[in-house]
Amino acid sequence: MVIEKKGKSQISDIDSGKIFNNGGGGGAGGHNYSYALPINPAKFGLWLFIGAIIMFFSALTSAYIVRHSVGNWLRFELPGIFWFNTLVLILSSLTIQLSYFQLKKDNSASFKFLFLLSTLFGISFLIGQLVGWGQLREMGIYVSTNPSSSFFYLLTLAHAVHLVGGIIALIYVLIKALLGYYSSKNRLGVELCVTYWHFLDVLWLYLFVFINVTI
């Protein structure tokens, strides 16, 4: 009858009440919330947020499928730069994961370097997208040209907006990292960034495959 998860359920020391202090005054640090999930609350919150974003993009891509099946769908060649961008984003996902491994081993210098590299990759992806949109416009393909281009701009823009949020988070964590804030014992902020960044990567791959199959 009682759903209890003894033992593993306790929020571990680094994660608990210190950063997301539950209750301005009191603080949860000294108490055990006996039923906490075996995952840090902040990470759990991030996953919920990711769930909401998935719903958002499911709605957009369902609309895409519906509209695509109606016809009057102009096919156009995607500029090659979008393939290049995809590669850059995958690379950034790799480097950020590596940087996280380095942090775990307390290799501070290579952690910072790889994290910086990931941030730069992220920014290059964004710039690459801007260039790609520019090339499309030069080809005469605007947002209102055809449903296919409308959806293309809509999906890539929506992804870019979420990516800008990710880059802001990366820069924020990068600054703290450069100030020597993180260590293998204190890495929650980095972990959140890494998770979100991988999600953005996977999301892009999904959208990109989706677009390539239909455009």
């Binding site: 997301f20 301005g24 902040a42 719903m55 709605a59 509209r67 947002v143």
Partner: protein
């Protein structure tokens, strides 16, 4: 992210600004939501009065209207385009700003941490942001009343192409843009709230507070938050696409070949039905986002004031979850007449009728809970009973609407208006009133006046019936909703007398709300001081001070030993045993 160390002392100094304005305390945020919600409720009600005046006295000049509304009522006669704007804003404000943000924002924020024994939400800063983003959404919505072309005017459902083509009606111009921006902010705010409610419920329950010991209120808010998290993003997606159609010339929702004001519309190939799917994918869960907090507040209040355990607690929780899950797959019942495949329509008929089962089970459990109970008719209890008296007829009419062949006749008539005002609008408002009366002592540390509360209840309950029950008959007779005036045809003009009657009832019921407002604000400062547990209730929030201190509990968190509904336990000294009382005491 500042590193705060767990401090033993509970109070710390706060400035006025951090205590009352930019507070991260869930209790303050709840009160901010409540007050903002009440303001929106008053605005929404006043808008409905203008609509009722027009329906009762069509084409009759009422010079005072021009004084209030200016160019919207030149010569004292309401303009048709302003009438549709009124409908739109009334619906939007009541559904989203009062009964979603006002209701969930107040009670999820207030009750979740207190009833699970936490000190605050999981992410207090996000929680504060949630309120302030909602505030920004409110400001934008309010501004839309004052722009040249007036507020949005395509209905709270914002169906394109009307909402997608700026020149279609004045209300599709800047007003609609502001509506979309405001709703975008609103969705962000509700997501921030939902993140908090879910994470807090799952992670910050105190020792002994297993899921099956949660008060039904927490379950209700929890399911609501999940619904919001999954369905609001879909509306956001639709809203973004609509913004694209309006601003960047895309044709997601606008079909080709439209002519507006003699001008052909450049869009082509869009599909307005797509918007209906995206809208109702949120829209139907949304009505349960409104209902579930109310219904769970009511359950808690019924059990407390009947001095009986909530009947079949686990089944009721299961029903709440069942309603939540099913509500995600019934949206098509709003679209039977949209030309959808009849077989698909039939699927939606089945899922919609299926949702009546958990709903009926829940209500049945509530009725058994009060059956032969020792009822204490506090104003909160009266409103909880009133909830049942409104929800049951409303939900019964839902079964008719759910049946596609019947709905083809009833769709977009006053029957639907009556249906959703019973189930959603007034029932949820009654749930909210019940919650306010019941938890006011905890929130503000003072009691509300009992007599005024009862007068408020009877005036409102009778008023609501007089207003909305006749609309069932109007709807069956075929009177369409969202019409500016009903003078042209016999089958509608026969109801002019009835419309006058409804309008008078609306004004009387509206005036009754002044009693509530007076009672609320007067008691806040002048009411008699409340003690810890004025209702002799079991749940945790009643075991701490009224109002609870910052951090909610003293240095130690409460420990829970039992379920929330041990009322009138045979052999116990008193007719209630708070959740914090250890089991051993009982054993002797």
């Amino acid at each position: 992210m500042s590193v705060e160390h767990a401090a033993v002392e509970v109070h710390h100094k706060e400035s006025f600004l951090t205590k009352y304005i930019f507070s991260t305390d869930h209790k303050t945020i709840a009160r901010q939501y409540l007050i903002t919600g009440i303001i929106w409720g008053v605005i929404g009600m006043i808008l409905s009065w203008f609509m009722r005046l027009q329906l009762a006295y069509p084409n009759q000049p009422m010079p005072f209207l021009e004084k209030i509304l200016g160019r919207w009522a030149e010569g004292g006669i309401l303009k048709p385009e302003f009438y549709v704007a009124l409908i739109t804003m009334h619906g939007t404000i009541m559904v989203f700003f009062l009964l979603t943000a006002g209701l969930s924002g107040t009670f999820s924020n207030y009750l979740i941490p207190l009833q699970i024994g936490a000190r605050d939400m999981a992410f207090p800063v996000l929680n504060m942001l949630s309120y302030w983003v909602f505030f920004a959404a409110s400001v934008v919505m309010l501004i839309s009343f004052f722009v040249q072309t007036g507020p949005a005017g395509a209905g709270w459902t914002m169906y394109p192409p009307l909402s997608a083509i700026k020149s279609a009606i004045p209300g599709a111009d800047v007003g609609a843009t502001l509506w979309l921006i405001s709703m975008g902010l609103f969705i962000v705010s509700s997501l921030l709230g939902a993140l908090n409610y879910i994470t807090t419920t799952l992670n910050y329950r105190t020792k002994g507070m297993s899921m099956w010991r949660l008060p039904i209120t927490v379950w209700g808010m929890f399911v609501t938050a999940i619904l919001g998290l999954l369905s609001f993003p879909v509306l956001l997606a639709g809203a973004v696409m609509l913004i694209f159609d309006r601003e960047f010339g895309t044709s997601f929702f606008v079909p080709g070949g439209l002519v507006v004001g003699g001008q052909p519309v450049p869009h082509e190939g869009g599909n307005p039905i797509l918007w209906q799917h995206l809208f109702w994918f949120l829209g139907h869960p949304e009505v349960y986002i409104v209902l579930l907090p109310a219904v769970s507040l009511v359950g808690e209040i019924l059990a407390t004031n009947a001095r009986k355990p909530l009947f079949a607690y686990k089944v009721s929780v299961g029903a709440l979850i069942g309603i939540g899950a099913l509500s995600m797959i019934v949206w098509g019942h709003h679209m039977y007449v949209s030309g959808m495949n009849p077989i698909l329509g039939e699927v939606f008929v089945i899922t919609t009728l299926a949702i009546s089962f958990p709903t009926a089970i829940l209500i049945f459990n509530y009725l058994v809970t009060i059956w032969r109970g020792n009822l204490r008719l506090t104003p909160g209890m009266l409103f909880a009973l009133g909830f049942l008296g409104l929800f049951i007829p409303g939900a019964l009419t839902g079964a008719f609407l759910a049946t596609a062949p019947v709905d083809i006749q009833l769709h977009d008539t006053y029957f639907v208006v009556a249906h959703f005002h019973f189930t959603m609008a007034t029932a949820a408002a009654f749930g909210m009133f019940a919650g306010v009366y019941h938890w006011f002592p905890k929130m503000f540390g003072r009691m509300m006046n009992d007599k005024l509360g009862k007068i408020h209840f009877w005036g409102t309950f009778i008023g609501v019936y007089l207003i909305f029950f006749p609309m069932f008959f109007q709807g069956i007779a075929g009177v369409p909703r969202r019409y500016y005036s009903f003078t042209e045809y016999n089958f509608t003009s026969q109801f002019v007398g009835l419309n006058k009657f409804i309008t008078i009832a609306a004004f009387v019921a509206g005036a009754t709300q002044l009693i509530f407002l007076f009672n609320f604000f007067w008691s806040m400062f002048k009411g008699p001081k409340a003690d810890k547990n004025p209702w002799k209730a079991n749940t945790l929030e009643w075991q701490t001070d009224s109002p609870p201190p910052h951090g909610n509990w003293g240095p130690e968190l409460p420990v829970v030993y039992r379920g929330p509904y041990e009322y009138s336990v045979p052999g116990a000294e008193e007719d209630y045993i708070p959740q914090t009382v250890p089991i051993k005491v009982e054993a002797k």
